[in-house]
Amino acid sequence: AQSVTQLDSQVPVFEEAPVELRCNYSSSVSVYLFWYVQYPNQGLQLLLKYLSGSTLVESINGFEAEFNKSQTSFHLRKPSVHISDTAEYFCAVRRNTGFQKLVFGTGTRLLVSP
């Protein structure tokens, strides 16, 4: 079985500061990794994903995440955050074969202040 740990329930930062949201996973098989974002009063949207290939993946709005197999991590980073990045971020994992059941972390709320 897979599991995901997001140690930080809330991360407050000032606008234009860098941010890192941490995600560690556990799995005995190879996995795909995802970050989803939930803006206030909305459903989840896929932010970025790692399926294979380059371990550094990027989103269209400046976020990036690096798959580190040895540390079983998939941390999300952004060099300079905006007020509009305020949202809850969920890391998720699923095995790369078989039915696509996603296992989610508990979420990290990013609070960006002016």
């Binding site: 997001q6 329930s9 795909y32 989803y36 009063n41 909305q42 459903g43 989840l44 949207q45 896929l46 994903k49 399926l51 969920f90 699923r94 039915f99 696509q100 059941k101 996603l102 989610f104 972390g105 508990t106 979420g107």
Partner: protein
């Protein structure tokens, strides 16, 4: 764009009532999912379906049932609502067997059981 709609954004029901939460997707996706989202617990899978009339239990199926009579519609049923079922309920859909492997989420239904 894929669209997943849920019948209600907010719902208030009394203990013991039978509750139906409806989800409709317009992209002919085979897979559909029901999650509940609770603070500090993230998203937990209740039930999923990979075809019409097919259903599988997720991680927390107790107290819930589902129905999928048509491909585009997936209903979550609370046979006798209880206060511990007060939560945000999210529906999602996806197409299996693709490398995109993305689940598309609806906006959620916030259910309060009093």
């Amino acid at each position: 764009d894929v669209k997943v709609t849920q019948s209600s954004r907010y719902l208030v029901k009394r203990t013991g009532e039978k509750v139906f939460l409806e989800c409709v997707q317009d992209m002919d996706h085979e897979n559909m999912f029901w999650y509940r989202q609770d603070p500090g617990l993230g998203l937990r899978l209740i039930y999923f379906s990979y075809d019409v009339k097919m259903k599988e239990k997720g991680d927390i199926p107790e107290g819930y049932s589902v129905s999928r009579e048509k491909k585009e519609r997936f209903s979550l049923i609370l046979e006798s609502a209880s206060t511990n079922q007060t939560s945000m309920y999210l529906c999602a859909s996806s197409r299996p067997g693709t490398t995109l492997d993305e689940q598309y989420f609806g906006p959620g239904t916030r259910l309060t059981v009093t």
